[in-house]
C-alpha cells in the first residue's frame, strides 16, 4: 500500500485537497500530517476507530477549527475558513450526528433559516416549498416541506439536513456517521440518495466505521489511524478484511488473561422488561437476561439501541413500563436507586463528567457520592471528615489515581484518572452486582488495561458484572456471555469464548436473529 492516492484521482478533477494538516489540542496531537484528496463526483469514505482523528480533520475542513499547519485546497484554490459560515459560503456543508434542526420549525423554515437575501426580509414560503419539492424528487429525498421537524422520524430529519445543504447548493457534503440512527431501510435509501448526488457532480465524504456500508457506497476509502491518514484505496481493489486490518493496525488485539470462570448463583434476573423513551416510544422491548455471581455478561450493540435506557431502568433511574427486575430473589422493580445500592447493586455510568462525578467538588467529596450515609460520626448527621480523607487517600493509592492531593477538583482529572476514581469508588462499596456502562470509552491504552484487570479481579472475587460496551474488542476480551441488542431488543446471546466478530456484527446490524 502506498501513501499516495491511486491512479483514479489523476483522471478526475479534485474537489478538495488537504495536505499536511496538523492540529494540536492541549496535550493531544489530534491530526499529524493528514492528507486527503476527494475527487469531483465521488463518494469518499473516511474510516478509522474512535479517536483516530477523523472528526478533527473534518472540523478543519468545515471551518469549525483552524489547522496549526497544512493547506486546504478547495475547487482549485487555497482557502482558509475562519468559521463554518465561510465554509458554507464556499460550498461545503456538514451533517452532524446530532442534527442541527430547530424542532418546532417546519421543514421549509429550517431550510430557509439563514438565507436572508436583503430587503425587507419577508419569508417567501411558496418558493422555498416548490424548490424543496423539486430537489427531493430529483434525489429521492422524500419529505413534506410543511411538516414540523419534531413530528418526523430521524431518517426523514436526516433528509431535511441533506436538503438544507442542497438548497444552498453545497458542492461537497460531509456526513458524520450518517447511519448511526437509521433503520436498515432508511440506510439503503440514504445510500441511494448519495449516489444520486455524486451523479450530479457533487462530492460526498462519509465518516464512518461501518465496513459493509463503505463497501456498498464508497468509491474510494481513506483510512486514518493515530491522527494521520494511513492510505487511500479504491473500493474495487480492497476487501472488508483488508480495511479492518488497516483500521485497527494490528492483527493481535489488546489481549488479557482471563482466569477460569467459577459461576455462582443467579443474582440479577430481568424478565420481559419494557421501557419508554422521553417521547413515550418504547426503547427497550421485552428484554430478559440473567447475571450470575462470578461472571461477566457483556451487552454489545451499536450506540442508541436501548442499552442506556435498559441500564437506567435496572438501576431505578427510569420508569419501567412492564416486566420485572429481580435481584437476589427480591423484586426491586420499583425500588429507588438508594434501596438497590443498599442491597449491593452498584453502577458506573457512561457519562463520567455529568453523572458519575461532580466537577466542582474535590476528590474527597466525590469519593463518598452514593455512600455519604456511611461517612458520618456514629448515629449523627455530622460528616466524619477524617474518615472521608482516609477513604479518599485509600482510593487514590489503591487505584493509582494521579493527583496532587485529595482536595484536587474532580473536574481537573484526566478521563482515565476520573474513571479510576469512579470505578474504584463503586468497587470499594463491595457490590454484589456491578453494572458498568462503556468502561473504557475515550481512555488511553494504559487506563484500558487497568480497568479491564480490575473488572476481571472483581469477577474472580465472585462479583456479578454486567458490562455495556460498543467496543467489540472489550466485550470479546471480558465477557463470559455476550448479549447483543438491536432496536431495544435482545438479538441473540453468545458464549464469550465462541463468539466471532462476524457473528456479532451481523447481530448488531439486526440482520440475523438467533431464533
Amino acid at each position: 500500500m502506498t501513501e499516495s492516492a491511486p491512479a483514479l484521482a489523476d483522471n478526475l478533477h479534485p474537489m478538495v485537497r488537504l495536505s499536511g494538516i496538523v492540529k494540536r489540542y492541549p496535550g493531544v496531537l489530534a491530526n499529524n500530517n493528514a492528507n486527503l484528496t476527494v475527487a469531483m463526483g465521488e463518494v469518499h469514505a473516511l474510516l478509522g476507530e474512535n479517536g483516530a482523528g477523523k472528526s478533527t480533520l473534518m472540523q478543519v475542513l468545515y471551518g469549525a477549527c483552524q489547522q496549526d499547519a497544512g493547506d486546504i485546497e478547495f475547487a482549485g484554490r487555497i482557502v482558509r475558513f475562519n468559521s463554518q459560515r465561510d465554509a458554507i459560503r464556499a460550498g461545503i456543508g456538514m451533517i452532524h450526528q446530532d442534527f442541527m434542526l430547530v424542532r418546532p420549525f417546519t421543514v421549509a423554515e429550517n431550510v430557509m433559516l439563514g438565507l436572508y437575501q436583503g430587503g425587507a426580509g419577508v419569508l417567501d414560503v411558496n418558493t422555498v416549498v416548490t424548490r424543496i419539492r423539486l430537489l427531493s424528487e430529483r434525489h429521492g429525498l422524500e419529505v413534506d416541506p410543511l411538516a414540523r421537524i419534531d413530528q418526523l422520524p430521524l431518517g426523514v430529519q436526516q433528509r431535511v439536513e441533506i436538503l438544507k445543504l442542497l438548497y444552498r447548493d453545497a458542492r461537497l457534503l460531509i456526513l458524520d456517521e450518517p447511519t448511526a440512527v437509521l433503520t436498515p431501510q432508511e440506510t439503503l435509501a440514504l445510500l441511494a440518495s448519495l449516489r444520486s448526488l455524486v451523479a450530479d457532480g457533487r462530492s460526498v465524504i462519509i465518516v464512518t466505521h461501518k465496513l459493509h456500508e463503505i463497501m456498498a457506497v464508497a468509491d474510494r476509502i481513506t483510512i486514518m489511524r493515530n491522527g494521520h491518514t494511513l492510505a487511500t484505496v479504491d473500493k474495487a481493489a480492497t476487501s472488508e478484511a483488508e480495511l479492518a486490518r488497516l483500521m485497527v493496525g494490528r492483527d493481535v488485539l489488546l489481549k488479557v488473561d482471563r482466569p477460569e470462570q467459577v459461576s455462582g448463583r443467579r443474582l440479577l434476573s430481568v424478565k420481559a422488561l419494557q421501557v419508554d423513551d422521553e417521547r413515550g416510544q418504547p426503547c427497550v422491548r421485552n428484554v430478559s437476561l440473567d447475571v450470575h455471581a462470578g461472571e461477566i455478561v457483556g451487552i454489545a450493540g451499536v450506540d442508541g439501541n436501548g442499552q442506556s435506557p435498559l441500564v437506567e431502568a435496572l438501576m431505578g433511574l427510569r420508569r419501567v413500563q412492564a416486566g420485572r427486575v429481580v435481584f437476589d430473589d427480591n423484586d426491586v422493580t420499583n425500588k429507588t436507586l438508594a434501596a438497590r445500592a443498599a442491597r449491593g447493586m452498584m453502577y458506573v455510568p457512561a457519562d463520567r463528567r455529568r453523572m458519575g462525578s461532580l466537577d466542582e467538588l474535590s476528590i474527597e467529596d466525590n469519593a463518598i457520592l452514593g455512600s455519604q450515609q456511611q461517612f458520618t460520626h456514629a448515629h449523627s448527621p455530622w460528616l466524619d471528615r477524617k474518615a472521608i480523607r482516609a477513604h479518599a487517600e485509600a482510593l487514590i493509592t489503591r487505584y493509582t489515581i494521579r493527583t496532587p492531593d485529595s482536595h484536587f477538583h474532580a473536574g481537573k482529572l484526566s478521563g482515565g484518572n476520573l474513571q479510576k476514581l469512579i470505578l474504584g469508588r463503586e468497587l470499594m462499596r463491595n457490590p454484589r452486582l456491578l453494572i458498568v456502562e462503556q468502561p473504557t470509552r475515550g481512555l488511553d491504552v494504559g487506563a484500558i488495561e487497568f480497568v479491564w484487570a480490575e473488572l476481571l479481579a472483581a469477577r474472580s472475587s465472585g462479583m456479578a458484572i454486567l458490562i455495556v460496551s460498543t467496543e467489540l474488542e472489550e466485550i470479546l476480551n471480558l465477557a463470559d456471555r455476550i448479549i447483543v441488542m438491536f432496536d431495544g431488543r435482545v438479538m441473540g446471546e453468545l458464549a464469550g469464548s465462541a463468539a466471532t466478530n462476524e457473528q456479532l456484527g451481523l447481530l448488531m446490524a439486526g440482520l440475523q436473529s438467533q431464533e
Binding site: 455529568r354 461532580l358 450515609q373 455530622w382 460528616l383
Partner: protein
C-alpha cells in the same frame, strides 16, 4: 509586537486574580456613585468618609448598623441555602412578611406576665412558630415546583405580592389598631428583643443572625444533609445517581430558606418596628439576596458583607438628613457593586498577550 486579547479555555481561578478583580469592581462602583454625590456636596469622597463615620464612628451608629445587618444576614443565609441547592428562590419579601405577621399575632395574643422569664419563653415560642410559617410559605413553592415543574424564579416572585396583599388586608382589617394608620397596635414591651448595648438601640437580633450563620455554615460544610444539598444544586443528575432524592432535598432547602426569611421578619418586628405594618421589610428581602450573591453564597462571608451593606444604608440615612443627598444612592451603590463584579467576571476568561504581529513575519503555526 501587538497586544492581543485571547479567550482562555478555562477561567483563571487563582485567588489573587479573583480578589484583584473583585476589589477593582467594588472600587469602580464606589467611584461611579461618588459622581452622584456631586450635586449635594462639594467633595464626594468626604461624603463617603462621613458616611462610614456615621455607621462606625459612634457606638450609637454602630448599633444601628448591627440592627440593619441582622435581617440582611438572615435573608442572605436563606439565599445561600436555597440557591446552592439549585432552588433559585426570590420570595424572601413574602416569607419575611408572613413570619412577622405570625409573630405579631402571637405577641398580641399572649397574656403578658411581668416576669423576667417571659421574654425568653416568648422568643422560644415565637422563633420556631414564625420559622415554620415562613417554611410552609416557601415550601409551597417547592411543592408546586417538584409536582408540576414550574419556574421557581417566576412563582416565588409572584408569592411576594400575594404576601403583601395578605398583610395589607390584615393590618387594614382584622389586626388594625384603632387610629388612622393601617397598622397593628404596638406590641407589649416584654415581647421585644432585649437590648444589647445600654444607651443605644442595639437589639439582640444580631445574635440570632450570627448564630444562624454558624448553623448554616455547619449545615452546608459539615453535615451529611448539607453535602446532599450542595450536590443536588451542583448537578441534579449526579445527585440522583448518588441515591439522593433531589425533589425532597430542594423542598428542604426551600423550607429552610423561607424559615430564615421569616426570622428576618421577626427580628425587624421585635427589634425595630415593634408593630406590624405594610412595608415592614424596606426591601431587605431583595437586598439580602444581593448580599448573598456578593458573598458568593458562603454563609460565613455573608456576615461581613451584610455589615458593609448595613453600614452603607445607615450612613446614607444620616447623609440624607444632613446634606439632602437622597438615601436611594445607596440602593444604586449596593446593586452596582454586584453588577460590576459580575461584569468583571468576564475578565477572568480573557488574557492579554504580547504577540508578534503577522506582518512582522511571525509564524502562524507557532507551537
Amino acid at each position: 509586537m501587538r497586544l492581543q486579547f485571547e479567550r482562555r479555555l478555562t477561567a483563571e481561578s487563582s485567588w489573587w486574580v479573583s480578589s484583584v478583580i473583585t476589589t477593582g469592581a467594588v472600587l469602580f462602583a464606589f467611584l461611579i456613585c461618588a459622581v452622584l454625590f456631586l450635586p449635594y456636596t462639594s467633595s464626594p469622597f468626604s461624603a463617603y468618609g462621613a458616611l462610614f463615620a456615621e455607621s462606625f464612628g459612634s457606638l450609637r451608629g454602630f448599633g444601628l448598623t448591627l440592627n440593619r445587618a441582622a435581617p440582611l444576614i438572615l435573608v442572605a443565609l436563606g439565599t445561600c441555602i436555597a440557591w446552592r441547592a439549585g432552588f433559585p428562590y426570590l420570595g424572601f419579601e413574602g416569607s419575611l412578611a408572613m413570619g412577622a405577621t405570625v409573630c405579631a399575632w402571637l405577641a398580641l395574643a399572649v397574656t403578658v406576665t411581668e416576669s423576667s422569664a417571659f421574654t425568653a419563653l416568648f422568643l422560644l415560642a415565637a422563633l420556631p412558630l414564625s420559622f415554620a410559617a415562613g417554611g410552609v410559605w416557601a415550601g409551597a413553592v417547592g411543592v408546586v415546583h417538584s409536582r408540576f415543574g414550574g419556574n421557581v424564579v417566576l412563582i416565588s416572585l409572584m408569592t411576594n405580592y400575594v404576601a403583601t396583599f395578605i398583610v395589607q388586608y390584615l393590618v387594614a382589617g382584622p389586626m388594625r389598631a384603632p387610629g388612622s394608620q393601617p397598622e397593628t397596635p404596638r406590641l407589649p414591651e416584654l415581647t421585644w428583643l432585649p437590648n444589647l448595648i445600654p444607651e443605644t438601640r442595639t437589639h439582640a437580633g444580631i445574635c440570632i443572625a450570627v448564630i444562624a450563620a454558624l448553623l448554616c455554615w455547619c449545615l452546608l460544610s459539615r453535615l451529611r444533609i448539607g453535602y446532599e444539598l450542595v450536590v443536588t444544586g451542583l448537578n441534579p443528575v449526579a445527585a440522583g445517581y448518588g441515591g439522593i432524592n433531589v425533589g425532597q432535598r430542594q423542598l428542604l432547602a426551600a423550607c429552610l430558606a423561607g424559615g430564615l426569611g421569616a426570622l428576618a421578619g421577626v427580628v425587624e418586628l421585635l427589634g425595630s418596628q415593634h408593630r406590624m405594618l405594610d412595608g415592614l421589610s424596606g426591601g431587605v428581602g431583595f437586598i439580602g439576596i444581593v448580599v448573598a450573591l456578593l458573598a458568593r453564597l458562603h454563609p460565613l462571608a455573608v456576615v461581613p458583607t451584610a455589615f458593609l451593606y448595613a453600614a452603607l444604608a445607615v450612613g446614607a440615612d444620616a447623609l440624607q438628613r444632613r446634606t439632602g443627598a437622597p438615601s436611594s444612592i445607596i440602593h444604586i451603590l449596593q446593586s452596582l457593586i454586584v453588577l460590576t463584579v459580575l461584569a468583571a467576571e468576564v475578565l477572568r476568561h480573557w488574557q492579554i498577550r504580547l504577540k508578534p504581529s503577522p506582518t512582522a513575519g511571525g509564524s502562524l503555526h507557532a507551537g
